[in-house]
């Protein structure tokens, strides 16, 4: 297991290097400069500014310089905010983004599991149809539409929850809930399908015929075995939450990092483009690694290091 993890970590850094290289050269193909006041600069001022930031050097030289700094964990300074490092921007914005994302993921998975299990156990009943109709809506309605509706009706019309901002627990509810709708829907559908399949397998029949109570069979065998595909989709879903949070953060005025992911590209803010891309890549690679390790815990048959020996 340890050898496997070491190998994966090594591969992770290689992947990041490849991502960094591709992003860097693609980014340099963007026309325009990172200066905020581009339209009013004269040629000589622009030259002097480029000189100051090392942007007159050939692109490969800039690339080597960047990698040198990156190796020391220095992501450079942003062009948007005076004197602020990309490291500090990510560090400050990560907290709120991660909190909303995590809350949405946990809440969504829990509710999704409950709905999925209930639907499967009450197959073709009112509960089943109800849960699946909800799931279809959850997938069909984008989180930002849901967020807008919630904000208007719950925030403005009813006045139950704060319209926006990021001050305390009650401020988390609407954003986390809007984000979790997609998660609930996806998890519920997967769980239902998987449960139905497993409920019909021979080993469940056998467990029941051995006299184990239905409750124990469902919890120990059905649910546990149905979790494998759920864990598989948790990875991509977490990634989906990151991109979804970008719009949700805007709507609820949450000081997260999501916005910078897109904005930096429009502004040619090179260090931030690199910083956020690498940061998100890192997150995704770690999530994939964690999912792979979790497989082994849930299902010993897929123990990753097993094949070697």
């Amino acid at each position: 297991m340890l050898r496997y993890i070491t190998k994966r970590v090594f591969a992770m850094f290689l992947t990041l290097l490849i991502i960094a290289t591709i992003t860097f050269f693609l980014m340099k193909l963007l026309p325009g400069s990172p200066f905020n006041n581009q339209e009013k600069l004269t040629e000589s001022q622009r030259y002097a500014l480029n000189e100051k930031y090392g942007l007159n050097d050939p692109v490969p030289v800039q690339y080597i310089n960047y990698l040198g700094k990156l190796a020391q964990g220095d992501l450079g300074y942003t062009f948007q905010f005076d004197g602020r490092t990309v490291n500090s921007m990510i560090a400050n914005g990560m907290g709120p983004s991660a909190t909303v994302g995590f809350e949405a993921l946990v809440f969504g998975t829990l509710v999704g599991l409950i709905l999925g299990i209930a639907a499967a156990l009450k197959h073709n009943s009112f509960i089943d149809y109800g849960a699946m109709v909800m799931a279809v809506f959850g997938i069909a309605i984008p989180s930002f539409v849901f967020a807008g509706l919630l904000q208007y009706y719950v925030g403005v019309k009813l006045g139950w929850l704060p319209v926006a901002f990021w001050n305390g627990p009650e401020y988390h509810i609407m954003p986390a809930f809007s984000l979790s709708v997609g998660v609930i829907a996806t998890v519920a559908r997967f769980m239902r399908t998987e449960m139905l399949e497993i409920l019909g397998t021979d080993y469940i029949l056998m467990a029941r015929s051995k006299g184990i109570s239905k409750q124990a069979v469902i919890i120990k065998h059905c649910v546990r075995n149905s979790m494998i595909p759920i864990i598989t989709i948790l990875g991509p879903m977490a990634i989906g939450l990151i991109t979804g949070s970008l719009v949700i953060e805007n709507i609820f005025a949450i000081p997260g990092i999501g916005e910078q992911f897109v904005k930096s590209i429009n502004l040619n803010d090179y260090p931030v483009i690199m910083g956020t891309t690498l940061f998100y890549s890192f997150l995704i690679i770690v999530i994939i690694l964690v999912v792979d390790i979790l497989y082994g815990i849930i299902d010993p048959r897929i123990r990753v290091a097993g094949g070697k020996s």
Binding site: N36, D82, I251, P255, N266
Partner: protein
């Protein structure tokens, strides 16, 4: 079997109740706040709480006056800092740190006497050296600010910024001198009647050298690594969330400042701003086009003209087509679309159609008359004439069809504008074919500066309060010309006006220059931008400005909120 049903139900109920509990928590809090407000009312204090709650669309990019380039920074700084002069409610320069000033005969040397009461927020005096230090810093190649060009009128400022010039980087050659602690002498390249207003611009603010050096890299990065000398101080600055102003007790004119506290929250989404306005959490919100109809009859609605003008650049250097080299073609295009309905239908936000380059209500001349009023309008929607000119132009070109590309911004509003323009031209001018190329802002600017377009949707806002900030854009090979326009008469008028000592003659030259520009139909003006939004009626006396910072809170107050 029954057990499993119940446990399931129980979990569901638990999850739901968690959610509901949190809901009711929020509700309680809000009513609590409301009660607090009412209690404040009952105590019947003679004055209402002077607290303004507002939103801003962006985090503050910079609080270092020598680095700032954007409207958010300018606005915040205008309220916590002060230059020699500042703009008053009528956009006229009014003394700031300076008590008074004298100029020499030809208007090239300004001697400012500083107000002995002008202090930094640490209690120390604002001295002439603070200005000298800050101005030199802005131009120094190490700090080289993106807005340093604004110092152009000061002697040697341009040379100091130009790499290769013998004066490059020699900031001590800049035309600014501290005669003594409270006397500052500024020498200009040429007389600039707008210079006094310019000293209220962020780049010209003072900085206390001792403090800046002590803070080092941390200077101006947080609310407490900065000294203030304006009507307010930044009491709190939560990056990406918002900031709070408090009245500055060390301010020389603190009796004029009525607001005690201004809370600013960052909100980027217009729908969210409107919802916050509806729930009373902000006193002001901007409105985007799609909201204007909904709030058209709302009593809190305001519209305000700005000094930014949008126009079509007509590129005479285009590699794609030489049609725009022809003056008749250019004139025909300008006359062939209806600017009034474009503004009414597509913008609907207080913008007005433009038949000019220098915006209206922007600069009064030596005679007190607005530049715009004196020069009037040029051209206008005239289909018959447009068709006539178009036919003549095509004949001169020896062509029957012309294909042109419109370089456009990629925002929704701009896209509609582009479609409208294309539609009108293709309907009204036989043989024209317009294609549209929408690009992100920065990429569009890049294509423009390379001259890779036929016509482009462009805008220009003023850097200082003088027609010259618009007019000198189009001198031959000017940095911002970018469309190959060249007319020796125009160049001469602009260059002479820049040197002219007699203000009336100078004004005449600028009026004449604009006429020349439109005789040539160098551009096709679109509209002068307006903004629209909602503002609670109890917010009084906000001062809006046409260049630099958008708003001053110095004189604002709250009246009649309760």
């Amino acid at each position: 079997m029954k057990k499993s049903k119940w446990s399931l139900l129980l979990t569901l109920v638990l999850v739901l109740s968690m959610f509901l509990a949190a809901c009711s928590g929020g509700e309680k809090k809000e009513t609590g706040e409301k009660k607090g407000g009412n209690e404040g009312d009952k105590t019947e204090k003679p004055a209402e709480p002077q607290v303004l709650n507002i939103l801003d669309g962006e985090e503050i990019p910079s609080m270092d006056s020598s680095q700032a380039t954007d409207s958010v920074s300018f606005e915040v700084m205008n309220n916590v800092m002060e230059g020699l002069y500042r703009l008053d409610k009528d956009n006229k320069p009014t003394p700031g740190v300076a008590l008074e000033h004298k100029t020499n005969e030809d208007g090239t040397v300004y001697t400012f006497t500083l107000n002995p009461e002008a202090k930094w927020s640490d209690g120390s005096k604002v001295t002439a050296n603070d200005f000298v230090y800050s101005w030199r810093k802005a131009l120094h190649p190490d700090t080289l600010s993106e807005y340093a060009y604004i110092m152009g009128p000061v002697k040697n400022a341009n040379a100091i910024q130009t790499d290769g010039d013998p004066l490059f980087g020699k900031v001590e050659e800049l035309g600014v001198k501290a005669v003594d602690e409270s006397t500052l002498e500024v020498t200009l390249e040429a007389p600039a009647p707008y210079f006094l207003g310019l000293t209220g611009f962020a780049t010209f603010y003072p900085q206390k050298e001792e403090f800046v050096k002590a803070q080092g890299d941390k200077y101006a990065l947080e609310a407490n690594t900065l000294l203030y000398n304006g009507p307010f101080v930044l009491n709190e600055w939560k990056h990406n969330e918002g900031w709070q102003y408090k009245k500055n007790d060390n301010y020389w004119d603190k009796d004029a400042v009525k607001l005690d506290e201004i809370n600013v929250k960052i909100v980027k989404d217009v729908a969210t701003s409107v919802n916050l306005y509806e729930t009373g959490q902000t006193d002001i919100t901007g409105l985007s086009m799609e909201y204007v109809d909904q709030y058209k009859d709302h009593e809190d609605l305001y519209t305000r003209g700005e000094a930014t003008v949008f126009f079509l650049r007509l590129n005479q250097n285009s590699k794609n087509s030489d049609a725009l080299k022809n003056a008749n073609i250019r004139k025909a295009i300008d006359m062939a679309y209806d600017k009034q309905s474009m503004v009414d239908v597509l913008l609907n936000n207080g913008s007005t159609p433009a038949y000019y380059l220098v915006p209206g209500e922007f600069t009064p001349g030596p005679d007190g008359e607005d530049f715009r009023k004196t020069n009037g309008n040029f051209g206008g929607y005239d289909l018959e004439k447009a068709k006539e000119l178009w036919a003549a132009g095509l004949k001169e070109l020896g062509k029957e069809t012309v294909e042109l590309e419109l370089l456009n911004y990629d925002s929704d509003g701009a896209k509609k504008m582009g479609e409208f323009f294309k539609n009108q031209l293709e309907k009204n001018l036989p043989g024209i074919k317009v294609s549209i190329k929408a690009q992100p802002f920065k990429q569009k600017l890049e294509l423009e500066s390379k001259g890779e377009y036929d016509f482009s949707y462009a805008g220009w806002g003023p850097d200082y309060q003088d027609p010259m900030t618009f007019l000198d854009m189009f001198v031959t090979d000017g940095a911002h010309n970018q469309m190959g326009y060249s007319n020796p008469d125009y160049d001469k008028l602009i260059n002479d006006a820049k040197k002219e000592m007699d203000q009336e003659k100078r004004w005449e030259m600028m009026l004449e220059a604009e006429k020349v520009l439109f005789e040539d139909q160098a551009i096709s003006p679109l509209y002068q931008r307006g903004v629209t939004g909602l503002q609670k009626p109890y917010v009084k006396d906000l001062a809006h400005h046409l260049f630099g910072a958008d708003v001053s809170y110095k004189w604002a107050y709250i009246e009649g909120k309760q």
